[in-house]
């Protein structure tokens, strides 16, 4: 029964996934079970992405399906179940850059894989990262940038964290656009991730 929902999501059958969710809710299936199915499906989606079978469109559609399903499920949840998170990630597109498609996919994949994600949005100044890191004390800071101007903004953000005495308490990953290992070294970050699943893998390593 529930396998059907996992399969529908993992196979990118949107309408079917929503129909099954409605059916399950109508039959009195506990909402937590449906959300567990979503997580199981996202495991498969993530694996297929890593294997090069799925790509950005599949991640975007999976995000759409999960949002629609959680909207359907929400009214049936009496009290928010405490879900143990793997760790906290402060995420944002660095100063001067307003691109957010890559950053949003990274945020969604981290969230779907059990991380508490604090998304600061786009054009985020170093001070805002510092402030959020001080407030929520994450294990991970994820800096996104599409344009070449982001290299310097990443560097400034890392330096600001250093100046605030917070650098040693977090691991910092960078990614997006033309960002690579070279930029990671230049910015003084800890690692570069090529895609959203690389971000998940890094975050997992760093929160173990």
């Amino acid at each position: 029964m529930v396998d059907r929902l996992v399969t529908a999501i993992a196979e990118m059958r949107e309408e079917e996934a929503l129909a099954i969710t409605r059916e399950l809710l109508g039959a009195g299936t506990p909402p937590t079970q449906i959300l567990d199915d979503c997580r199981a499906a996202m495991e498969i989606v993530g694996q297929r992405f890593e294997q090069g079978k799925y790509f950005i469109p599949e991640l975007i559609l999976a995000g759409e399906m999960l949002k629609a399903i959680s909207d359907l499920v929400k009214p049936h949840i009496k009290q928010e179940a405490e879900v143990k998170k793997l760790g906290k990630v402060v995420l944002g597109t660095v100063r001067g850059d307003i691109h957010d498609i890559g950053k949003n996919i990274v945020g969604f994949m981290l969230d779907a894989n059990g991380f508490e994600v604090y998304d600061l949005g786009i054009d985020v100044p170093p001070e805002a990262f510092v402030e959020k890191v001080r407030e929520v004390q994450p294990q991970v800071v994820a800096l996104s940038g599409f344009l070449t101007l982001s290299y310097d903004s990443m560097k400034e953000t890392v330096e600001a964290l250093k100046a605030a005495g917070l650098r040693d308490r977090v691991k910092i990953m960078v990614g997006g656009g033309t960002v690579d290992e070279k930029v990671c070294t230049y910015a003084g970050a800890d690692a570069f991730g090529a895609d959203a699943m690389a971000a998940v893998t890094l975050a997992r390593q760093w929160t173990r």
Binding site: M12, Y54, F55, I56, P57, I98, L147, Y151, T178
Partner: protein, 447 residues
């Protein structure tokens, strides 16, 4: 194009365009040296395109906003002050003389955008810092349920739906009737009624004002580029411009997220829209190339890169209309200059398509393995690249030198190669750009 032109074969058309380009129509060279350099340079690009060995590896840069900071002005300055635009580009072309003109026309006219209240981008002084490049604000400017309307008549859709959305000043155009209403005498008066409405009149006034501002800009920009060509012998490379239909729809109409979802939710309409765009894309590339007396049509590739979709989706949604565009341009003797952004490692077997005649296209790569490119492209298409933006900004001149040397050693030996930067220069270090140019001169000579 006249009847005589239509009787030429694609190869003859290409020959005619190369001849016209190398004859530098309308250019009064300042010195015989400049004129000689111009001819040598056009010959180098011609040889590379046609898979021969030029005298040396030609170098072409996509400079972005690099020239401004280098000249000590901001991006915001040059968008409004064309003297500063000229100062920056003349200085750049003089100090970093490559083998082609680095044109100033991408340093776009801020006044035009201001007058029209352009919503699709943020530019210096309008949402991004004075030293930043313009940046796109992604959104669904074309909505999911508007495919039928778009497919039925793209021009009508642009006039009455899309342009009113992306330009605040043209919002009243949404009140206009389709131009195709104007059929016979009794229809004329009725069709013109909305044009008389005060907001529509105001929108047209803004449109005329923007046109005037655009003309002022192009007169200044044309003179700047003309100076660099006449004095430095730098040939303008990109006469035409066009886009892969999937990018046309995905970049600024539907947006990245939405077009990816359309692929699942309404694939047939997506494909029909791409087919509808194709002839428009070909016509745009050919028309510009002809008007500008050039050979190459610049085509930046965006949403087909590795990771953006599966191989199957690439073959289904991205490639057919890009291939159609390439063939359409080649058929008219225009050489597509494909600026292949991101990685294309998974796509090489698809794009090295032998339906495209040998020696008629140029492919500039970024994060693609150039040895793999060479395996597939030698004897078929000119390729180039791929000095990384990260290296040019975060590396040292020595790193850049070594990279260029290795690249030339690895892939340039048989000719048909152009040295270029992989992504736009923007924030590169000047000494690294210099190292790239010097290395190309030192290691790129064919014996």
């Amino acid at each position: 194009m006249n009847e005589e032109w239509s009787r030429l074969t694609p190869a003859q058309k290409l020959e005619a365009r190369f001849s016209e380009w190398s004859s530098a129509p309308g250019v009064q060279f300042a010195t015989p040296e400049a004129e000689r350099a111009y001819h040598e340079r056009t010959q180098m690009f011609r040889d590379a395109t046609q898979l021969k060995k030029p005298v040396r590896v030609p170098i072409a840069l996509n400079v972005g906003i690099f020239p401004y900071a280098y000249a000590g002005v901001t991006v915001q300055d040059v968008m409004y002050d064309y003297e500063k635009l000229g100062l920056a580009f003349k200085k750049f072309n003089q100090d970093f003389t490559t083998d082609s003109l680095s044109t100033c026309i991408f340093g776009a006219p801020g006044k035009v955008f201001d007058i029209l209240d352009y919503k699709l981008y943020r530019w210096p002084g309008h949402g991004v810092s004075p030293t930043s490049s313009y940046q796109c604000v992604e959104d669904e400017y074309m909505r999911a349920d508007e495919y039928d309307q778009f497919i039925a008549d793209p021009s009508n859709y642009f006039l009455r739906v899309y342009l009113p959305r992306i330009f605040g000043a043209l919002q009243p155009w949404s009140m206009l009737p389709p131009l195709t209403d104007i059929l016979e005498l009794p229809f004329v008066g009725a069709s013109l009624i909305p044009v008389g409405l005060p907001p529509v009149q105001e929108a047209f006034r803004k449109y005329l004002e923007a046109g005037q501002a655009a003309l002022e800009w192009i007169q200044a920009a044309g003179a700047i580029d003309g100076w660099s060509t006449a004095n430095l012998g730098l040939p303008p490379l990109w006469a035409g411009i066009s886009k892969a239909p999937f990018d046309t729809l995905g970049d600024t109409l539907r947006g990245t997220r939405a077009i990816m979802l359309d692929k699942f939710r309404q694939p047939a309409k997506l494909l029909a829209a791409l087919d509808r765009i194709l002839p428009l894309a070909i016509e745009m590339g050919v028309r510009w190339a002809t008007n500008q007396h050039g050979v190459f049509a610049f085509i930046p590739l965006h949403k087909g890169a590795d990771g953006f979709m599966s191989d199957e989706d690439f073959r289904t949604f991205y490639w057919p209309t890009l291939k159609g565009l390439i063939l359409g341009l080649v058929n008219e003797g225009v050489v597509p200059w494909l600026f292949v952004e991101g990685g294309y490692n998974q796509r090489l077997d698809v794009i090295a398509d032998r339906d495209i005649p040998a020696g008629t296209t140029v492919w500039i790569f970024d994060r693609t393995d150039m040895k793999e490119v060479k395996k597939r492209f030698t004897g078929w298409a000119c390729f180039g690249g791929n000095v990384p933006a990260s290296l040019l900004q975060a590396g040292t001149p020595e790193d850049v030198r070594n990279y260029v040397r290795r690249l030339i050693d690895d892939v340039a030996g048989d000719g048909g190669f152009i040295l270029a930067n992989g992504a736009v220069l923007d924030h590169a270090r000047p000494e690294n750009v210099r190292a790239m140019i010097d290395a190309s001169r030192e290691y790129g000579v064919y014996r």
